[in-house]
């Protein structure tokens, strides 16, 4: 199991120091995503989802348990990971293109500028921003910035992509556009992805399996396989099969929030 999985989280517990003592956020949590897989993690607000991304990225170490990426134990940050956040922070003093090449300056500092530029342009083309490479980030819309952020997270050929609610702050239509962009990227670039989201439709549309976390301290409460293939259209979300799946997830979230259905 551990050897086959690209992301393998083994019995991890984590807590934070607060004024009122230690606050446990993850408890005996396990998760495995196979190579090329796409897992979405949903759960109540503040249940420890972002902690999960920081653990995988090696930015923090768990109190208990281990995390493996491609069979290797994670003890520190590693260049095989790409990250994108809800806040698509840009280096405003750089052009869009130079924002995308930023990770290459760390991961492959000796690679020629021509090669770096070529790689960045290739990704910008995939997200339809080829005409914006010389623009400043301040000239882009929120959706465009998030596209640039996705390019930046993929530019150094990461094996694992960790997305922490990247579409959370976008309006509904832009969000749907970006879902399609995500699918387009997945077809052309190979990566294993873990997506944190609050949006159930997003989790179903983008992933192969949806993992519902319980309230803090988070445990895996429910796993739902998504029965769709590679080619997905937005209309697929409105079939009765999807509706049933979404309704099932919705009730799981309610359980996670600790509310009975009668109350709602």
């Amino acid at each position: 199991m551990k050897d086959k999985a690209q992301i393998y989280i083994d019995d991890v517990s984590h807590s934070y120091e607060t004024e009122n003592g230690r606050l446990p956020v993850l408890k005996d949590f396990s998760l495995s995503v196979e190579k090329g897989g796409f897992a979405a993690v949903v759960g109540p607000s503040g249940c420890g989802k972002s902690t999960l991304t920081r653990l995988i990225a090696g930015l923090i170490r768990p109190d208990k348990g281990e995390i493996y990426l491609a069979g290797e134990k994670v003890t520190s940050p590693r260049p095989t990971v790409g990250m994108a956040f809800q806040n698509p922070v840009m280096l405003e003093w750089r052009s869009v293109l130079k924002n995308v090449t930023l990770p290459l300056e760390i991961v492959k500092p000796r690679q020629s500028w021509q090669k770096q530029r070529e790689r960045a342009r290739e990704l910008l083309r995939m997200v339809s921003l080829q005409d914006f490479e010389d623009k400043r980030p301040s000239e882009l819309s929120g959706g465009m910035r998030q596209r640039v952020s996705l390019c930046r997270s993929l530019v150094h050929y990461p094996e694992v992509l960790v997305l922490d609610e990247p579409f959370g702050a976008l309006d509904a239509f832009t969000r749907e556009e970006l879902w399609l962009v995500m699918h387009a990227l997945r077809k052309e670039v190979s990566f294993t992805c873990l997506l944190i989201t609050h949006d159930l439709r997003e989790s179903v549309f983008l992933s192969d399996e949806v993992i519902v976390l319980s309230d803090r301290p988070a445990e895996t409460q429910h796993i739902a396989k998504v029965p769709f293939g590679e080619d997905r259209k937005l209309a697929d979300l409105y079939t009765s099969e999807s509706t049933q799946l979404l309704a099932g997830l919705r009730s799981q979230i309610e359980i996670a929030q600790g509310k009975s259905k009668e109350l709602l």
């Binding site: 920081r54 990225a57 090696g58 930015l59 520190s76 940050p77 590693r78 260049p79 990971v81 990250m83 956040f85 806040n87 922070v89 280096l91 405003e92 003093w93 930023l102 990770p103 300056e105 760390i106 991961v107 400043r136 301040s138 930046r152 150094h156």
Partner: protein, 258 residues
């Protein structure tokens, strides 16, 4: 030429020019009407002769004021940035140093001037530069520390998750990100440093600089000379301010939005 453009020029060039001329005429008229002699008040028409009479001194002493201000400001930039970095990166340092800095900043620097002038008596250059520095480093330290401590965690995480060192993160992100705040503070600091230089030059005996020339005018009740020095100081102050503006355009122009 279309009408809008014509109006624009009228507004931007003609209006301030007319206002200036009216002011000067009123001033000239007041001195003439009251029949004030030169030891009581200067009129605008006295300024140029006063400058021409002492033109050599104006340039020589103006240079003193200029380089001392710039030297004091340069030390401010180095010390202020370092202090700001320490306070921006370490919470303990921030909480420890901040009250001291605030307390120090609260002391009116005019009261420090005679102390420094007496302690380092005769060392005109040193004590002038010292005051220019003491009066101007505070805004730089505060703005750099705020710029660094308010850096969104995502900025750090995009590079840290790739295994970048703290130094790399500082050079590639924190430093350029803080430049707009830094230049905002520098605009305040350059004016303060200029005030500091002149305070010291006026107060210390046998000094140099335009402040000293001003003091000479005061001692000999030469109002035309005093006013000519004030105008020269204004020109120098504007020059220094615009140098900072130009540097800001070059290094932090990206922060401006159309």
């Amino acid at each position: 030429m279309n009408r809008d453009r014509y109006n624009d020029i009228l507004r931007r060039v003609l209006a301030p020019t007319v206002a200036m001329i009216v002011l000067l005429v009123l001033w000239e008229w007041l001195v003439w009407f009251k029949d004030w002699p030169n030891y009581k008040m200067a009129s605008p028409s006295d300024l140029w002769p006063a400058f021409w009479k002492f033109r050599g001194l104006f340039f020589e002493l103006g240079w003193d004021t200029l380089w001392r201000t710039v030297a004091g400001l340069a030390i401010s930039i180095v010390v202020g940035t370092l202090l700001g970095m320490v306070m921006g990166f370490s919470r303990i340092a921030r909480e420890g140093l901040y009250p001291i800095l605030v307390g120090f900043n609260a002391i009116p620097k005019a009261t420090v001037v005679p102390v420094v002038a007496l302690m380092l008596i005769g060392l005109h250059d040193l004590n002038t530069v010292l005051i220019a520095f003491l009066i101007s480093f505070f805004p730089i330290a505060v703005s750099v520390s705020i710029g660094l401590s308010t850096l969104e965690p995502e900025y750090r995480d995009i590079l840290r998750s790739l295994g970048a060192s703290k130094f790399t993160i500082f050079i590639k992100i924190a430093l350029p990100k803080t430049l707009p705040e830094f230049f905002g503070a520098l605009k305040v600091a350059v004016t303060l440093a200029f005030i500091g230089t002149n305070l010291m030059e006026i107060v210390e005996p046998h000094g140099r600089g335009l402040g000293h020339l001003f003091d000479s005018g005061k001692i000999s009740a030469d109002y035309p000379l005093m006013f000519a020095v004030l105008i020269a100081l204004a020109i120098l102050g504007i020059f220094l301010y615009y140098v900072v503006i130009i540097l800001e355009r070059i290094f932090a122009g990206w922060a401006e939005r159309e």
